[in-house]
């Protein structure tokens, strides 16, 4: 922090509303010359919205802009498009690579900023026909790469490079811009191996020494502690704290990041050790894009509500999807002491498991079909229920279906115009209840529930959770609840497993300390 103290970026009192929903509340962020400033927060804490504001992304302006002001190098600026940001000297290294695989490293680095020279045709027909100056472009690319101390051939094709190298090419592209003052890294280490990540961190330090300021967004707390000068913690759109490295510890950051004060719903304590293990998962791997499960072992007891938490993209969603056979998976899963076949949704449903998908509209519902058909369709397919025998063949039994649907509508309080209304006309909460009814029609022994309250308003959230608790307590149904909302997990689960990088980091009591949850989510090993 013994920099000269000249401020590069000042974001003052930034607030942002999306359709009446405040996602950022009075954020103050200042970055000084040569400073590495870390930003940490859970998913949905507001990190990306803040960066979208800094880059003048159209999502911000098309939804009514933001409140507050931005100063860059001491002067107030208006950033209304990414081009403005680039012109000011703000660069961004994206989480997903913005590279053209078929082009060489040099071409990617110099894309749209090519060095050209005149030729005969361009003099007549305009600058669009100027020749590319390959030699000086190559030299520029090499210079940028050598700043990173990377030994990458500047003429190699992107397509064949290892993932880590692509990340460095992306950084080199930003470095090659002449006026670069501030560089934003959005979770740059997410795709890197450990040694690559270390290298990136040392690169960050070197860049900072040359006077470039860096905003470093990550959820890996030890990386933050390693390189950052100051750290800002966001939670639910609020700036919880800004601390310099010497003043804080990993534990404190973890606690600040999670920090919900949750009232437990007064769930009864159950003695799990006496219960029989109903689902035994060993060595589960699931190839679900964006939610890969590397190796998961779990023992789920009969009659419990088991929570699965963790940050987005770490693989928590993949577990239920894998066991239900929706994505390619391997390993061994035993249900009720019998081996469960993997990659076979039909057999899994037959054995008495059911699944409420996190993708309610995409996987969970037939949007154009009526409420009643949505409720009964899987039960008809799997258990041959609701059919009327006509001798040679059997047809759907309309009256039986109607009766069952009406019963469900009443029991779960599904607000609809009637059993024949198309589900796409229902609100999110009621659609979720239709999904629950659909699962109940299958009479499952174990129910996987993924993100049951995503996109549902607060009142409906509580009702959905209450329904789950009721099913668990009255019908003795075992429930495995996967959710990004820790508060939700802690309010109804008996135990909570935290997943990071596709593995179980640890299993905690719902009333364990905030810091423990935070550390496990950040991929640090349990402090216990």
């Amino acid at each position: 922090m013994e920099r000269n103290g000249r401020s590069v970026l000042e974001m003052k009192n930034i607030s942002k509303e999306f359709y009446g929903n405040k996602v950022l509340k009075g954020i103050n962020l200042s970055v000084q010359e040569g400073e590495i400033h870390g930003i940490v927060g859970e998913n949905g804490a507001g990190k990306s919205t803040l960066m979208n504001i800094l880059f003048g992304m159209s999502v911000i302006h098309s939804t009514g802009g933001f409140e507050g002001s931005i100063e860059f190098l001491g002067k107030p600026v208006r950033i209304s498009s990414p081009f403005d940001a680039m012109a000011l000297g703000i660069g961004m290294v994206h989480q997903e690579f913005m590279l053209i695989p078929g082009y060489s490293v040099t071409e990617n680095i110099k894309l749209n900023r090519e060095i050209t020279k005149d030729n005969f045709f361009s003099k007549i027909l305009g600058p669009g026909l100027r020749t590319l100056d390959w030699d000086s472009m190559g030299q520029d690319a090499k210079r940028a790469l050598s700043k990173l101390e990377m030994d990458i051939d500047e003429w190699a094709r992107i397509a064949g490079l290892p993932v880590g190298h692509m990340q460095f090419v992306e950084i080199a592209r930003e470095l090659d811009k002449q006026n670069l003052k501030l560089l934003v890294f959005d979770e740059p280490t997410a795709v890197l191996t450990e040694s690559e990540a270390d290298r990136l961190l040392s690169t960050l330090r070197k860049l900072a020494e040359t006077g470039i300021s860096i905003l470093f967004i990550t959820h890996r707390l030890h990386e933050i502690m390693e390189v950052c000068d100051r750290i800002t913690v966001l939670r639910d759109g609020v700036q919880v704290a800004t601390k310099s490295k010497s003043e804080t510890t990993i534990e404190e950051l973890a606690r600040l990041m999670v920090g919900h004060s949750i009232e437990s719903v007064g769930k009864r304590k159950v003695n799990l050790s006496e219960r029989k293990t109903i689902l035994k998962v060993r060595d589960l791997r699931v190839l679900m894009p964006g939610e890969t499960v590397q190796k998961v072992d779990l023992d789920i007891k009969e009659g419990e509500i088991f929570g699965i938490g963790g940050l987005a993209g770490q693989g928590k969603i993949g577990i239920a999807n894998g066991i239900m056979g929706l994505y390619d998976s391997s390993g061994s899963v035993e249900f009720d002491d019998k081996l469960l076949p993997l990659n076979n949704p039909r057999e899994v449903l037959k054995r008495g498991l059911a699944f409420l998908s996190e993708d309610r509209r995409g996987v969970g519902l037939l949007l154009d079909m009526s409420v009643e058909m949505n409720i009964v369709a899987p039960a008809i397919e799997i258990h041959r229920k609701f059919l009327k025998d006509m001798g040679v063949f059997s047809v759907l039994d309309r009256s039986q279906i109607r009766a069952f649907a009406q019963d469900m509508i009443q029991k779960l309080d599904i607000r609809c115009l009637g059993p024949d209304q198309p589900v796409k006309r229902l609100s999110g909460g009621n659609q979720q209840k239709v999904c629950i009814a659909k699962a109940l029609a299958l009479e499952p022994k174990l129910l996987f529930v993924s993100e049951p309250t995503r996109g549902i308003d607060i009142g409906a959230k509580k009702r959905v959770l209450d329904t789950l608790v009721e099913l668990n307590q009255k019908n003795g149904m075992t429930i495995v609840l996967t959710s990004s909302e820790l508060a939700e997990l802690r309010s109804i689960c008996d135990r909570i497993a935290i997943i990071s990088e596709g593995r179980v980091m640890g299993i905690l009591d719902p009333d364990a300390e905030d810091a423990q949850f935070g550390l496990l989510m950040a991929g640090e090993y349990a402090v216990r």
Partner: protein
């Protein structure tokens, strides 16, 4: 005050009517208006109306099953069944076999269907396998497969060892381009229980036959398998999560469409009086597709009512367009040209509109 109330009432009523119209589908209304205007001009040109309506019913009986073959394909999610020529060729082969065996009348007709079904199952299965490999571009691939199969079968018709002199080329080998069904199963359905009402001839047998086909289809859609098929079309992910083998269902839907195509061409042929071989099946798929789209189907949803309404409208226009054009434009082939313009224009219009709203 009272006046205001009344006004708001009339506006809501107007809104309701507009909503009804919109849900019926504006393209369909335009087509209906077009048909009506053709009928009116036919009346002015003193073209006998009962004859027009008779023809329309005959064509409805001939074409509905072909249009129906679009339905399973749309419902299972493989979009319009442009592989229809495959089914048609299976049906033609069945018809040719029935003539070769020297069968006559209704026996010949149902025997032809019986022969063509196993062929259609085989061809449909293969075509279904292919469609599962080109998910997302079924219509394009289907069109070309249909064309290719028609061309391939042009060799087939020449080389197949059929001996019956009614069908063979005079020079010896191969089957003629058109095979007359006179004395075989020409008009067997049209003449069955046929009667006349105010000068309108009703081809009862053909209408009953298409009714039975639609009924079987309707019942099938209400079975467990039928429901599973529709789930695949509406949301393949939902279907997979419900334990349905989506690829198998798509093959099944394709097989049923192919079978209906085979039966469809035989009902068409009995009304037309000829089996048309070689290049004739090439464009049949477009006519059937246009008919179901005019009826109100979309590329993803369709009902049996769409099949019947659509076929009636499309064939009704074709029936009346020809004599009207004939009277208006007497010059040589101008009538034929205008008929082609009308029919292709409707196809284009239907494909561009893709039916009404839900």
């Amino acid at each position: 005050m009272q006046y205001d109330n009344k006004k708001s009432q009339t506006t809501t009523m107007l809104e309701q009517i507009l909503k009804k119209i919109r849900s019926f589908g504006i393209p369909r209304i335009i087509i209906i208006l077009f048909l009506l205007s053709l009928w009116i001009s036919a009346a002015f040109l003193s073209i006998p109306f009962p004859a027009l309506l008779s023809d329309t019913f005959v064509r409805l009986g001939m074409n509905t099953v072909l249009t129906l073959s679009m339905l399973p394909s749309i419902l299972v999610g493989t979009s319009l069944f442009f592989g229809l020529p495959l089914g048609i060729i299976c049906g033609l082969l069945g018809g040719v076999m029935s003539i070769e065996l020297n069968l006559k009348g209704l026996t010949a007709f149902f025997a032809a269907i019986g022969f063509s079904i196993p062929l259609a199952i085989l061809v449909g299965y293969g075509y279904g396998l292919l469609l599962n490999r080109v998910k997302g571009s079924e219509m394009t691939v289907g069109t070309y497969v249909g064309f290719a199969f028609v061309s391939l079968m042009s060799f087939g018709w020449v080389t197949l060892p059929f001996k019956n002199p009614e069908m063979a080329w005079a020079i010896g080998k191969g089957i003629r381009v058109t095979v007359s069904l006179e004395g075989r199963f020409s008009n067997v359905l049209n003449k069955l229980w046929a009667f006349e009402l105010y000068g309108i001839k009703i081809p009862t047998g053909a209408l009953v036959f298409l009714g039975v086909m639609c009924l079987i289809m309707g019942l099938f859609l209400r079975t467990r398998t039928g429901l599973a098929m529709q789930e695949c079309g509406m949301n393949p992910k939902f279907a997979k999560a419900s334990g349905i083998d989506v690829d198998r269902m798509r093959i099944l839907g394709t097989i049923i469409s192919t079978i209906l195509g085979a039966i469809g061409i035989l009902t068409y042929a009995q009304g037309f009086g000829f089996l048309q071989l070689y290049e004739a099946p090439m464009y049949m798929g477009f006519i059937a597709a246009a008919a179901i789209l005019i009826g109100g189907a979309t590329l993803k949803t369709a009902k049996i009512s769409h099949v019947i309404i659509g076929t009636f409208l499309f064939q009704g226009i074709l029936v009346v367009a020809l004599p009207v054009a004939n009277t208006v434009a007497t010059l040589g082939s101008l009538a034929e040209i205008s008929r082609i313009i009308v029919s292709n224009g409707i196809i284009l219009y239907a494909l561009a509109q893709k039916g009404g709203n839900e």
